[in-house]
Symmetry: C2
Subunit: 242 residues, 2 copies
DNA sequence: CTTCAATGGTCTGTTTCCAGACTTTTGGAC
DNA sequence: GTCCAAAAGTCTGGAAACAGACCATTGAAG
């Protein structure tokens, strides 16, 4: 008899990610840093946002206040008021990357990169194997164009939007959430390295290849293109680390 | 300017999955149904388990009591006591599958199957691309043998163990957790259909192909083998649904 | 210049959840 | 038989989170 012998580790993991307040701050911060809510835009109204996040308004407000005091948000009252994003990604400085990696803890970097590789490749492959509507094809192309036209300050944000669009177009919320999660885990790292012209151009070629493969309905090609692209990013990160 | 325009949906999702008690019951139930803790074995001691799940002992005890009253656990006091698993998967009855699908809600079935396809394919491919130690190869082979030798009552459990082993061997906890999550989402469905000899044999061939590809270091083959296997499972489910 | 609707700001009582100390039961070791 | 250690069972006070009602501010529309 084999006994139980399943890793078990993966199932008896924490039910709740600690404290609601901190978790909320983290979430909002990620939404801001990822540019889900761009500079100058505002978060949804408190009541609505609290409902979306599944927390009480009190807790949400505490989180918003923390972000306000840290100069990420500017909160204005009255009609047409709201919590406006005020944050601009700072230009990375030497040492930021190392710091970000240390924050992840041992093994965290490889874990995040592996995870991202798995889910993003999977998403691209699945999308390429689907029958796409005209609207979906248009969305994909427009996101691609978005990254290509991006001003440097907007680059990461639109790059994120592009990658997430692939996952969301699969129509699987679970898969989209996994890709968003994967992206989150490398955001701080990516934000800690400069956006260089040669890298942008290289990435643009790869992005184009990904889109082409998806639009042609070539799952294998799409998977390979994404893998190549992500390996490039991983190599870039590792390069800055040494 | 593109505006925000990221799906956003994926990021402003709930911070906490509702209620700690219910969430804990759900978790434990999954661990039992998946056979992470097999019939006759016991859960870890309350204090330890509470710590692992990141909840208080009180909350955990409430959950355990609920499962005890529902005849999933038998709790015994004193030294060598504990919460023993008493549940045996019942033979599925007609209508169970439809019920399970309805519980998932609209779109849930496709979502779960798509998600599973993405993450398990990704895991297999990544594992096949790694240098494996002797120990890892042995683990994989032993899990394969485990499924092949399984008594019908143990089949699903050992099948789960096999699939999860692939994910865990990649060494990425995030990926392992994603695969476990994916598996969870189809467990109720799989448990609702009978384990038939022809299906077992078919699956055995596919499992062998997966392991062979991984051991040979053939990422593309591993991915394809997993995809084929999961498509088979998906087709089986869809077949029982019509 | 008044009104109004949308929004953030505040308050109160309740429920959930927690940390930790203490008690009881049990079966094996000596 | 006695003792002991490992486990479940119980209790209490406090902190965190919530639900919902209500207040205050704002800017646009009329």
């Amino acid at each position: 008899m084999d006994g139980g012998a399943t890793g078990a580790v993966s199932l008896l993991r924490p039910v709740r990610a600690g404290n609601a307040f901190e978790e909320t701050v983290e979430r909002l911060l990620q939404a801001i840093k990822l540019g889900v809510v761009a500079h100058g835009e505002k978060l949804p109204p408190e009541r609505e946002l609290a409902a979306q996040l599944g927390i009480s308004r009190v807790t949400l407000r505490e989180a918003i206040r923390a972000l306000q005091e840290a100069d990420f948000l500017d909160v204005r009252r009255g009609r047409y008021g709201g919590a406006f994003v005020v944050y601009r990604p700072p230009s990375p400085r030497k040492g930021d990357l190392r710091r970000a990696v240390n924050e992840m803890g041992a093994g965290g970097l490889d874990d995040a990169l592996t995870f991202r590789m798995a889910v993003e490749c999977g998403a691209a492959q699945i999308l390429a194997g689907m029958e796409l509507t005209e609207g979906q094809r248009a969305t994909l192309s427009s996101r691609l164009a978005g990254v290509n036209d991006a001003a440097p300050a907007d680059y990461r944000r639109l790059d994120t939007a592009f990658h997430l669009a692939i996952a969301e177009l699969t129509g699987s919320p679970l898969l989209a959430a996994a890709c968003a999660d994967a992206r989150l885990r490398v955001t701080d790292l990516l934000n800690a390295i400069p956006v260089l012209q040669p890298n942008i151009e290289h990435a643009a070629t790869q992005h184009a290849a990904i889109v082409a493969a998806i639009l042609e309905g070539d799952p294998e090609g799409a998977r390979r293109a994404v893998a190549e692209h992500l390996e490039g990013t991983a190599a870039l990160l590792r390069g800055f680390l040494s």
